[in-house]
């Protein structure tokens, strides 16, 4: 029998540095894991001592892809700690901004990081020659979502105008109207996106797990709500540690999390499984066209779930803009913050899954303690369990194909290693 050794040093087309290590002998899997080798950055330590108004600006720098997600989660934690209530207009603008980031992150992942695997190339760059219309469509959607975020926050990567209780800048009625027109025009690009992704031959692999996401009574949840799991549990956000149960694992690459089983999954697929009923009808139609019917248990379909969410976010953005225009958009001063000691937990379901920020502030409004639990960390145990289950099913294939399939599995989770590296156990082998 053969020995199979795969060592993918720094998996490409993911955000951050991670390695795949596989070692089998006579059909027996000795090692099969994904490990993280990103340089640690120590955010939880260095936000201590910083004033409350800086926290959202510092923590947005955890991640260039989900900067709005970190900033929003950070603001919710600070607002709960200091007893600040955002206005209805702020809540609407935050949702709109968040939708922009979901679309932006998902278009990057689906088109630029995942699609090249199915088109037999190593990156999006050769596609400029061979599939120029596909690349241009992706860049068009990305520009739309980036412009949507920039209209509200000043720019997408590391938003400027988001502040405790509100915004330091308000989009104009005209900007909202123009954005609405562009979102409606995006229907054509999104229809073609669904048509493209409906034809991709997703690898066959099923492994049911526990799916965890936020949930709200009245909408597909991204900001606030309660934490729900597909095994029937429900917790207030403040009880997040009962969900995440972080633990060190001996060989480990990360502080892994587990809830009711040995692992759980977060992200687009978890949200789709838990909250399918609340998707916009157009998004449900797209799901049907791509063969997604909850409960979906093939992790490769996380990418297809992202396509569904892009459509939901475009449709919901149009509805939010209509509401803002009906109400009449106005420049609002953020509420005056009473500086005091306090503790708060914020949670958002960011592009890669549920995120928690937990802060304690002293009487002078400076942070004394911080904890962040990142989606990529929460997925780490589940991704590794998937790899161990998937490998025996593909072991008879050529080594290069095994390697590609394992890389594709890692990419399906859309890991964001920069985010995770603030809190990871790193082992060099």
């Amino acid at each position: 029998m053969t020995t199979l050794k795969i060592d993918v040093h720094h998996v490409t087309r993911v955000e951050g540095h991670g390695n795949i290590v596989v070692d089998t002998h006579n059909g027996e899997v000795k090692e099969c894991r994904f490990e993280v080798v990103e340089a640690p950055r120590f955010f939880e330590a260095f936000v201590c001592g910083r004033p409350y108004y800086e926290l959202c600006h510092i923590t947005s720098r955890v991640c260039g892809i989900c900067a709005v997600g970190h900033a929003t989660t950070s603001l919710r934690a600070t607002e709960k700690a200091l007893g600040v209530k955002p206005s209805e207009q702020t809540v609407l603008l935050r949702k709109l901004n968040f939708h922009g980031e979901i679309i932006d992150s998902h278009v990057l992942h689906t088109y630029m990081l995942v699609a090249p695997d199915f088109l037999g190339v190593g990156s999006v760059i050769p596609l400029v020659e061979t599939h120029r219309n596909v690349v241009e469509r992706a860049l068009r959607i990305k520009k739309l979502s980036g412009d949507l975020c920039a209209m509200i926050g000043g720019r997408h990567i590391h938003p400027i105008a988001m502040t405790v209780g509100g915004f330091t800048h308000t989009p104009t009625e005209r900007e909202l109207q123009e954005m609405r027109t562009r979102l409606v025009d995006a229907h054509v690009d999104m229809d073609e996106t669904v048509a493209l992704f409906a034809t991709l031959p997703w690898p066959e692999f099923e492994r049911e797990t526990e799916y965890i996401s936020l949930r709200k009574d009245d909408e597909y949840a991204f900001i606030d709500g309660v934490v729900v799991t597909s095994d029937g549990f429900s917790y207030p956000i403040e009880d997040y540690k009962k969900v995440t149960n972080e633990k060190c694992v001996s060989h480990s690459t990360a502080k892994w999390t587990h809830h009711n089983r040995e692992s759980y999954m977060v992200g687009a697929l978890a949200r789709l499984n838990n909250n399918f009923d609340q998707l916009h009808p157009r998004a449900k139609k797209a799901a049907a066209r791509m063969g997604l019917k909850p409960r979906v248990t093939n992790p490769f379909l996380n990418t297809a779930a992202q396509v569904v969410e892009m459509i939901h976010c475009i449709e919901d953005s149009i509805l939010i803009i209509d509401e803002l225009l009906t109400r009449g958009i106005q420049s609002e001063e953020p509420p005056v913050v009473e500086v005091k000691a306090g503790e708060g937990v914020g949670s958002c379901d960011v592009p890669r899954g549920i995120l928690f920020h937990h802060y304690v502030y002293g009487e002078d409004g400076r942070c004394t303690e911080a904890n962040c639990v990142i989606p990529t960390n929460q997925n780490m145990a589940n991704l590794n369990a998937d790899m161990r289950a998937f490998l025996p099913q593909i072991m008879d294939r050529p080594q290069e194909e095994i390697r590609l399939l394992l890389e594709m599995l890692v990419r399906a989770y859309d890991p964001c290693i920069s985010c995770s590296a603030h809190f990871l156990t790193v082992e060099f082998v």
Partner: protein, 262 residues
Amino acid sequence: MRNDKSQTTNGRPRVAFFDFACCEGCQLTVIDALQTHLALLDAVEIVQFREAMTEKGENYQIAFVEGSCTRRCDEARLVKIRQQADIIVALGACAHLGGINALKNLHPLEAVRRWVYGEKADWYETYETRPIDAVIEVDAVIPGCPIDREEFVRVVKAVLLGKKPPIPDYPVCVECKLKENVCLFHVGKFCLGPVTRAGCGAICPTFGDGCEGCRGLIPHPNENAMKDVLAEAGLTVEDILSRFTMFNAYQVQERMAEQEGK
């Protein structure tokens, strides 16, 4: 000695992107620049860009480096890039200044490690965060957190033409005035614009938030005057230092060490 094999392909220079400790937001901004400047791909040949592509070539002339140096083991990788590249461009505040990662330098290193990693602190290699020019020579800089995509395009054009990249050496206030913004000090907010290098189009003050100094100090800033201005706005020395250190902790500490040495 530079690698003499670094020939161009059809006159297109070979370009590689590298990242160290960072959020990769500057490389994402490079990808965003393609939305409006797709023709950039015709002007260069990208041989390495891990975040976006699988292909990996080690024969390049221009290296863009994002992220700060936070581990001794990073130094060897930086030196290797320096040996290969004719031109190294520091991409963004982390590479240029040490940036947000250098906030950890304000705390005792041992305490930081224990804080985040507890008993497992020894498993992680780390040392005081530094900008990459503390380790290797850097030929050009694109400041900012994140970089400005139009400035990125301008710098790339200049580098390709063999010219000095056009990075302003005047303060953000100049651009802010051109935008006809109301000065934030006049509405009771504070801003590091008077001492921070322009080039961002004063984007933060334009969106109602004070400049955070992410592009670094201008050469010969009048910092004492700046401190007076902030103090007039009712801010404590701690608040002022906090603003300065958000992106410039490494520079603030270097200056303090320099002054102590005098």
